[in-house]
Amino acid sequence: MSTEHIDLRPVTTSTGQHRFQGLLHRFGLQIGVVGVALVVWLIFLIGAPDVFTAYPIYGAFMSTTPFFAIMAIPMTMVIIAGEIDLSFGSIMAFGMTAFDVVLVSTNSLALAFIACLLAGLFAGWLNGIIVVKGKVPSLVATIGTQFFWRGVVLVVTAGNGIGLTVAKGTIFYDGVVGRIGGVLPAQMVWTILIGIAMWFLLNRHKFGAHVYLVGDNVESARLMGVNVERTKILVFTIFGLVAAFAGYVVSVEVLYFWPTLGEGYMLNTLASVFLGGTSVFGGSGTIFGTFVASFVIGAINAGIVAIGWTGFWTNVIYGLIVVISVVLQAVLSRKLAKSRSR
């Protein structure tokens, strides 16, 4: 290691303010979303104290929020990489179509489950190949594959659903959507496990380091020897895999697979990612932020009804919270940058 001394900047003094700004830079996104979550929770707590001081409402959140939180977590990685994937709803259904086909032909839940995951893996990989090798913007490419996979699902299933009661009482039900200890929904545990795995990949693995670099400055990453193509393809592939798993979780919860599975998840998933502080331009974002934001989004619907408003207010509140949070984060980020620039 070299010891040359360049001294390219003047010496200044240490202050507590600088340390505070450093912490704000490092954890600003997380602090912001936790603040939003606390405010929303306090509003609901004051508005409906009986509901929000009892377990059942939280049990309900832990049961329903994972359906989109599981996808919002790897979607965070896609957005950090500077890309977007709008095909995940169709991939959920495509995975379950593969499940359906294999279950009917082999009568094996295990093989059907593996087929579901492999189908998601393949669909995600294909998105990556189209974006990277075809040099097609991911927004356009995944709108295309969204239609394509939905079409495949409808062609194969002829628009008919399939009952999944065969899974009831097996590990493929209890282990995925059962109630651990009779109270904790298993899908909540899966959400946490997927969150930990994605956090590890992003923050403690070379792959994650490259995801941040590629999303931040793709040219710099390439100049510094990062394999940009491989990184992006892998990001899409992982998302496809998790989307197929989410499709299975949603279907097995209601013990039925509808060919329309996945429609209606777009808003909640993307709102969770952006409310969680992930930059729409790529290069920054956290799994923790998305995780907390998912539960804010998940709580709004039930919370609004609980405090006595009609459900029609839901989208108004969603929109307000997301817009206000994103504006606040942008202002905070600009202020911090300004305070350090000379």
């Binding site: 070299s2 010891t3 040359e4 900047r9 200044t12 003094t13 450093g22 070379k206």
Partner: protein
């Protein structure tokens, strides 16, 4: 005599545009080479070929490092041979902390790819203190690059090149956007490369920056090497006159070897 780097008859074409034509270029051991030329002369393309970012045209041309012919040139291979570059655009990721920038593409990890974040932070803190001279609490290993001044960013890019034990350091417009005092320090650093027994390619528009610190000057014009001079062959005034002539006519029109 063996050179550290030698390119023989190398060309680079982008679509219909011939960016570099029949380039013969070398860098000796412990030599500082100034690469000058106008915008579009091909300086950055030449640098990106040396660093493995661009591949030369497949029809002919040879590439030698330490006297050995090299094929299948890539960024990884260039780094393995000790070629480090401080790019014109600094090649930094603005929203990432310093430690991620220092180790960009060469993270410290185990064989499973698991990062040693603690070590990278520690190494970055040491580099900041002992190499970059960052002693302020305002800048830490976790500071994001977008909050830093031009000089600080240059310091990060140069330190990264140094950290990985470069034998040939390429500085692409290193003084661009720097203040006078920062420029002076940057030029001192180029002189230090020579003292440390290493080689350097120094690219700059400003001949007043280049001339004092280099051993040899190579003039690039419209994709070809218009000429080259040892510093003892030519005065600064004469060099400026000839560079002006190149810009006007495309020819050096001198006794300098081409």
């Amino acid at each position: 005599m063996d050179n550290l780097l030698q390119m023989i008859n190398v060309s680079k074409t982008f679509g219909e545009v011939k960016a570099l034509r029949n380039i013969h270029f070398h860098v000796g051991y412990n030599e500082i080479v100034g690469l000058v030329g106008d915008n579009g002369a091909g300086k950055s393309t030449l640098i990106k070929m040396i660093t493995g970012y661009h591949q030369p045209d497949p029809d002919g041309g040879e590439f030698y490092l330490k006297g050995k012919k090299v094929t299948g040139w890539s960024v990884e291979k260039a780094r393995a041979y000790g070629i480090e570059t401080v790019y014109q655009e600094r090649a930094l990721a603005d929203q990432q902390p310093l430690w991620r920038n220092i180790f960009m593409g060469r993270e410290i990890s185990n064989r499973f790819g698991v990062l040693d974040v603690k070590k990278m932070r520690q190494e970055t803190s040491n580099l900041m203190l002992h190499t970059m001279g960052f002693t302020s609490a305002a800048v830490s290993a976790d500071s994001v690059v977008k909050t830093m001044s031009g000089g600080e960013r240059q310091g990060v890019a140069i330190t990264r090149a140094l950290y990985f034990k470069a034998e040939l350091i390429i500085l692409d417009e290193p003084t661009m956007g720097l203040s006078l005092s920062e420029t002076k320090k940057c030029l001192e650093f180029v002189a230090d490369i020579k003292k440390a027994g290493k080689s350097c390619i120094f690219i700059d528009h400003n001949i007043f920056h280049v001339y004092p610190v280099v051993d040899r000057i190579v003039v690039l014009d419209r994709g070809t090497i218009a000429g080259q001079f040892s510093k003892d062959q030519i005065s600064l005034d004469e060099l400026m006159t000839r560079l002006y002539r190149v810009a006007q006519t495309g020819r050096l029109d001198t006794s300098g070897e081409a």
